[in-house]
Each structure stands twice: as structure tokens, then as C-alpha cells.
């Protein structure tokens, strides 16, 4: 574990990504202290340019953009992490069962997985949120529903290759139950690749969430980055700052997550681990 951490720390870009994410996390934690007021509250005159009384300016209704971004960060992280965890659990169960039992189970589960993969992810997510009515939980469900197939395919592949390995057979030869083989031997051995892919998935989930909110399918009572951009797009030419700052926030967050994900992949994946 420590060796893995040391390998991670040797990757400068991954460290930069981790620093960005740490800042984001601190921002989320201290948001209620820095901006005690509701971000939907009108804070001053509309369309104030940045640098004056308001660090990042105000939007068309006179709301403080800095406060909006701080609150939006929380939404993004909750949805990104929540949807990814849900996708990992769902994907690991489906992929694990398919890869372990093979045969009919595999055929059925993998056809279902492929069925989900054939639907364009964003449109499918739109559809689900539209049906469930926009809210944080329906966004999590929608994003998880379009993200789990990649995890399922990964876990299935790992299980198929692990299943042929002798240590799994040796364990079966000791008389171990399926649950013991799956949980004690196979899952720990594919955990590193799942963690690496899962971390990248968080970035995708945040992008999906911003897209949904931009189209007005986010929770209207919760501030999010997509919502700010959506509100500011009409005045993009006269008040550039409304769309720009949440855009930069999305860019930095997703970049940070991807850098950390790549770093984890390198540190944990034994195939890339050069001696």
C-alpha cells in the first residue's frame, strides 16, 4: 500500500490533480462559513463585472457568482461520487456474476450490459431524469444507469482471467464457497483496476451532471455549475464572466480527477508497474 502511495507521489501531474481536488474539497467544507447566505439570494445589482465588491461578479439576477460556484461544487461532488459508487456496485455485481459463473448467466448479463451501452449515454440520462422528475437523486440514478456498463465489462474481464488462474482453482480445491472465492480472492485482485477506472468515472459523472443542469434537468432548488452556465448563456457576449467561471471550475475539477485517476492507474496497475 505504501509502495503504491510512493509510486503515486512520484507522478507530478497526479500530485497536481490531487492538490486541485484538495482545494475543491476545502471549498466545499468551508462554503457555509465563507458564504453563509443562500446562493439563490439576490446579493447586489445585476451583471456586476468581476473584481469589484463581488470577486467573480454577479449574474443576470444579481446573485453572487462566487457563492454560486462554491455551492455548485458541493452538488457536483455529491452527484459525481454518488453516481460513481452506485455504478461501481451495480457494475461489479453484474460483471462479477457474469465473469464467475460464465455460461447462461454471463450471456444474459452481458447482453443486458451491451443493450445499455448501445443507447447514447447523455440522451438516456436525459430520458431517465425527465421520467423521474429533476432532483439530485434522480440525477444520480440517471448517471449511474449510463455509467455501470463499463465497470461491468471491466470486472467481467478481470474475473474471467482470474478464474483461470491457479490460485483460484487452488482455493476451490480447498473447498471454498463461491462467496469466499469472490470476496476474498477475486475482488481484491481486481480492486486496483476498478479504483482506477472508477476515479475517472467521477469526472465523466460531473460533466454529465453539468450537461443535465444546463438543459434545465437539474434540481431547480439546488445550485449547480450547469445551472449557472445555463442562466448566463443568454448574456454570454455582454457578461462573459457568468459562463466563464463555472466553466473553469468544471474544467479544473474534471482535469484534477483525470490526473488523479491516471496516477492511481499507474500506481496500482501491476502491468504498468515497471520495476
Amino acid at each position: 500500500m505504501w509502495a503504491g502511495f510512493a509510486r503515486f507521489a512520484r507522478n507530478r501531474m497526479a500530485l497536481f490533480g490531487a492538490a486541485v481536488l484538495l482545494c475543491l474539497l476545502l471549498l466545499v467544507v468551508f462554503t457555509p462559513v465563507i458564504y453563509p447566505d443562500d446562493p439563490f439570494k439576490l446579493a447586489g445589482p445585476a451583471l456586476q463585472s468581476p473584481g469589484g465588491r463581488f470577486l467573480l461578479g454577479t449574474d443576470t439576477l444579481g446573485r453572487d457568482i462566487a457563492a454560486e460556484i462554491a455551492y455548485g461544487a458541493r452538488t457536483s461532488l455529491i452527484i459525481g461520487v454518488g453516481a460513481t459508487l452506485a455504478a461501481i456496485v451495480l457494475g461489479a455485481v453484474a460483471g462479477g456474476l457474469a465473469g464467475y459463473y460464465r455460461g447462461m448467466t454471463e450471456t444474459v448479463l452481458m447482453r443486458i450490459t451491451e443493450f445499455f451501452q448501445t443507447i447514447p449515454a447523455f440522451i438516456f440520462a436525459l430520458l431517465i431524469v425527465a421520467i423521474l422528475s429533476p432532483s439530485i437523486s434522480s440525477e444520480i440514478i440517471a448517471i449511474a444507469a449510463v455509467s455501470w456498463p463499463s465497470i461491468a465489462r471491466l470486472v467481467r474481464g478481470e474475473f474471467v482471467s482470474l478464474g483461470g488462474r491457479e490460485f483460484v482453482q487452488a482455493c476451490a480445491g480447498l473447498g471454498a464457497s463461491d462467496a469466499r472465492i469472490i470476496f476474498n480472492h477475486m475482488l481484491p485482485n481486481c480492486a486496483s483496476s476498478v479504483i482506477a477506472v472508477g476515479s475517472l468515472l467521477i469526472g465523466t459523472a460531473i460533466l454529465l451532471e453539468a450537461g443535465l443542469a444546463f438543459l434545465g434537468l437539474g434540481d431547480p432548488n439546488v445550485m449547480s455549475w450547469g445551472l449557472i452556465i445555463s442562466a448566463g448563456r443568454a448574456v454570454l457576449r455582454s457578461a462573459w464572466w457568468i459562463c466563464t467561471f463555472p466553466g473553469i471550475a468544471i474544467l479544473l475539477t474534471v482535469l484534477g480527477i483525470n490526473l488523479v485517476g491516471d496516477g492511481l492507474n499507474e500506481a496500482l496497475n501491476p502491468r504498468l508497474r515497471e520495476r
Partner: protein
């Protein structure tokens, strides 16, 4: 006395802190001479492979490095040579053959392309000249139909053919020194003899100096001009093959030579009239994908019948591909069989369900062929050994206690318990595998070529097992 090609001068290879000793090898002096085969022999974990890697500058840095001493080759000290200089020497002046030819060849490129690449990198030869040289070499290692071989992918060749291709690749540039790291260990006996003969023949032809790493005294007797014996990192004996094999002076060498199995029938034992423990009757197994389009079907077992009595050791002999491992897996019920029956103590176990099999698992245990693949890389040694008893209801604390005791029985240090499999050499891992199988006190022990990677040491500890627990039963597939 022929000239010296490479000289090791007080070579010491340092291990990272926390390893089982400070230096992998210390103060090794060795001279490799032109046209001679020097065998470096030692048990698994003695540091012999690291010596080979240090010469090529391929030590797993930064954890393992040359601590002190010199590696002299053509007036240069390779121990301190920069990487780009080493690259020019590797392949061109020092060739290397690895233990497992499948992993050393790129599965996506044809043999011809891989050989051609070596020439393209190291020589100014044109395309036609390179092709001629490749075909010449492939013919030189006695591969049939060179024209077909150059177009083949590694998986289309047998283990012996792949090793021949590797040898051809190592000799392409006429290196002055060839390092062979247990090149025949993964091969069956017949192929092994052919490969040894080939190395000997090519080495005489090209007057190459060969450093041959092995744990097998049978191989040494076949091929060596000179022998160096390595024990836990120290060179204990060195001399001509005749001198070392004929009149070993160091007690360790004597013990190693005494441990070589002799092909003489053991003294007649009283006829075993105890009841049968395992009986296989007409066991049949075919592999193959039955698909819509027919598919290819391989017959692995065609009605095999065999019997094993309690207290008996049965050796099952056959070339690779003869179905030995399939039979072993069929008896342990790791593979379903297509026909016949397998009786354990008179009861058919061939058709039991998984649940019904669990008590049977405890009675029949298997030691696997590949100690690298058969241990879970994420489990500590103690947990690997204790897992069987825990599955069968022993309290974890007690199971670990017993596992700790087993470590001693198979000749491992008690400190091994807290470590992970990758920290051990092949032979040590095989001991762990043996301890895992013994932890359940099985009535039948099936050993699937446990010695092929794990050196004579592994075989030694399974023999020791038979000595300490003579009431139990073993079926050795060796």
C-alpha cells in the same frame, strides 16, 4: 587456457532493507572463458539469477543494485556502465535466453519479424541480407521448415520450438557471451535434452562463452565445462565439471549431488496390500469449444484407469500434453469429466455436487505446477496456508498456529508468515503451496510437477513430508 571473456571481481549485489539477507550475493569471483560452458548452480533463492541480470544491467533497480565489485567485459566495468552503453552490449555482445520463452517473445509479432528487428537495430544489413541471416539461424537451431517458422506467431510453436527460436535470436549477432537462465526448466525431459544438445553444439561452433544458470545437476553433468556452486549468495565451490561432480569438496555441493534423484529402482518394499484410496475407471475428458460451426475438440483423457493404495506413492510419467495434469485435476474434481468414474475410498465422487464435494476436498489436496500462479498475490503467506482449515471449520487463531508450524516443516523461516508471495523465489513459493496442501491433513496428495519450477528443493521438501507423515498418501505426478 583460453582467454577470459567476462570476469566477475568480488561482485556483491545489495538487496533492499528488510529482505531475508543483506546481499543477494557477496564477493563472487568468477571468470567465464571463451568456448567454455560455465554452470552456475544453486538452490532457488541462492541469487544465481541476479548474477545473470547484473551482467546485463537488468537488476530490478532501484531496490536491487550492485553494491560493490566489478563486472569486467572487454575492458569495461559493466557494473558502472551507463544504460545507453549497456543497450549496445545487450544482444550484440551478450545474448540472453530466458526460462519461459512464451513471455520473452512478443505474441503479436511473427518469429521472423522479431528476429529481423534485432538485426535492424544492431546492424546496417539490408532487407535481403537480414532475411538470409534469419533463415540461416533458424536452420541452425534445427527448426523444421524455416520458411514456415518465420511466418509463425509464438503461440503456434511448441515450448521447445519457442526456446529454439529464442536461442536463434540470442545468437543472431554472434555474441561473445551467452547467458542462459534455466532455459530448459519449463520443458519436458525429452525436449530439454535436445535443447541442451543444441546449446552445446552452437557454442562449440561459434566458440561462444556460455554462462548457464541452473538448479539441476542432471543438466550440469550434460553440459558444463566448469561449475560454480552458489549457496545463499556465497560461491562455495568452483572448478572443472569433472572435479566438482566427481569429487566435491564442500559439504553443500556433496549434499546437492546426493539429492539428485537416481534412476535406480528403490529397494523392494513389502507389497502394499492396503485398500485402494483412489480408483479411476475409464476416465474420459475432451476439451474443445462446441460451437455452431463445429469447433476443434482435443481428446485429453481417453478412458484412463488407475489405482492408488493407501500409503503408496504413484509416479505418473508422460511428456507435456500427455494428459497428466488433466488427470490430476479430474481426480481433485477441479475439472468435470465426460465419462468414467472416480472412486475415493470406494465412493464415486465424479458426480457429486459442489456442496457434496466439500468434505471430499479436505481429503484430496493438490500441489500446483506453477508456484507463481497458484498463490493469491494479495494474501499473506500465513493466511494462504491457514485458509483451508478455516474453510473447514477450524478457528482462525488455531489454524494460523498450525500454519506457522507447517512453515517449519516445509523448510521456511517463521518470519515468512507475514510476507506476501511475490517476496519469495519460485522454490520457496512451491514450499508455501505444499504447506497449504498439507494444512488439511489430506489422505491423498496430488503433486502436479511441483519440481519443474521449484527446483530440487521443492521435491526435497515433499520427500521430507512423506518421511514425517508416512501414514498419509501421495500421488506424485512427476
Amino acid at each position: 587456457m583460453s582467454e577470459t571473456v567476462l570476469e566477475l571481481d568480488k561482485l556483491t549485489i545489495a538487496l533492499p532493507p528488510g529482505a531475508d539477507r543483506a546481499n543477494a550475493v557477496s564477493d563472487v569471483d568468477l571468470a567465464l572463458r571463451a568456448g567454455k560452458v560455465t554452470c552456475l548452480i544453486g538452490e532457488s533463492g541462492s541469487g544465481k539469477s541476479l548474477v545473470a541480470r547484473s551482467i546485463l544491467g537488468l537488476l530490478p533497480r532501484p531496490h536491487v543494485r550492485v553494491g560493490s565489485g566489478r563486472i569486467l567485459f572487454e575492458g569495461q566495468n559493466l557494473a558502472v556502465a551507463p544504460q545507453d552503453k549497456m543497450r549496445a552490449i545487450r544482444g550484440a555482445k551478450i545474448g540472453m535466453i530466458f526460462q519461459e520463452p512464451m513471455t520473452a517473445l512478443n505474441p503479436l509479432h511473427t518469429i521472423g519479424r522479431q528476429l529481423d528487428e534485432v538485426l535492424r537495430i544492431h546492424t546496417p544489413l539490408g532487407k535481403a541480407a537480414r532475411r538470409a541471416r534469419v533463415l540461416e539461424l533458424i536452420d541452425g537451431v534445427h527448426l523444421p521448415e524455416p520458411g514456415r517458422i518465420v511466418r509463425s506467431y509464438p503461440h503456434q510453436l511448441s515450448g521447445g520450438q519457442r526456446q529454439r527460436a529464442m536461442i536463434a535470436m540470442a545468437l543472431l549477432l554472434n555474441p561473445r557471451l551467452l547467458i542462459a537462465d534455466e532455459p530448459t526448466t519449463a520443458l519436458d525431459v525429452t525436449t530439454q535434452a535436445q535443447i541442451l544438445h543444441l546449446i552445446r553444439e552452437l557454442q562449440r561452433e561459434h566458440r561462444t562463452s556460455v554462462l548457464f544458470i541452473t538448479h539441476d545437476f542432471g543438466v550440469v553433468a550434460d553440459i558444463a565445462d566448469e561449475v560454480a556452486v552458489l549457496q545463499r549468495g556465497t560461491l562455495v565451490e568452483r572448478g572443472t565439471a569433472a572435479a566438482v561432480l566427481g569429487a566435491p569438496s564442500h559439504p553443500y555441493t556433496k549434499a546437492l549431488i546426493a539429492a539428485v534423484p537416481k534412476l535406480v529402482p528403490p529397494a523392494a518394499r513389502p507389497v502394499n496390500t492396503r485398500p485402494f484410496i483412489v480408483q479411476a475407471r475409464d476416465v474420459a475428458k475432451t476439451y474443445g469449444a462446441r460451437s455452431m460451426f463445429g469447433g476443434r475438440v482435443t481428446l485429453a483423457l481417453a478412458g484412463v484407469t488407475m489405482e492408488l493404495r493407501r500409503g503408496e506413492t504413484l509416479g505418473l510419467v508422460g511428456e507435456s500434453g500427455s494428459g497428466k495434469s488433466t488427470l490430476a485435476r479430474a481426480i481433485t474434481r477441479l475439472l468435470p469429466i465426460d465419462g468414467g468414474e472416480i472412486l475415493l475410498d470406494g465412493a464415486d465422487i465424479a458426480r457429486l455436487s459442489r456442496r457434496q464435494l466439500r468434505p471430499v476436498r479436505k481429503r484430496v489436496q493438490m500441489v500446483f505446477q506453477d508456484p507463481y500462479a497458484s498463490l493469491d498475490p494479495r494474501q499473506r503467506v500465513i493466511d494462504i496456508i491457514a485458509e483451508g482449515p478455516i474453510i473447514h471449520g477450524t478457528l482462525p487463531a488455531k489454524a494460523r498456529e498450525e500454519a506457522q508450524a507447517l512453515l517449519g516443516l516445509v523448510g521456511l523461516d517463521p518470519s515468512a508468515a507475514r510476507r506476501f508471495p511475490h517476496e519469495f523465489s519460485g522454490g520457496q513459493r512451491q514450499r508455501i503451496g505444499i504447506a497449504r496442501a498439507l494444512a488439511l491433513h489430506p489422505e491423498v496428495l496430488i503433486a502436479d510437477e511441483p519440481g519443474s519450477v521449484g527446483a530440487s528443493a521443492g521435491a526435497g521438501s515433499s520427500r521430507r513430508y512423506q518421511g514425517t507423515a508416512a501414514s498419509q498418501h501421495a500421488l506424485r505426478n512427476a
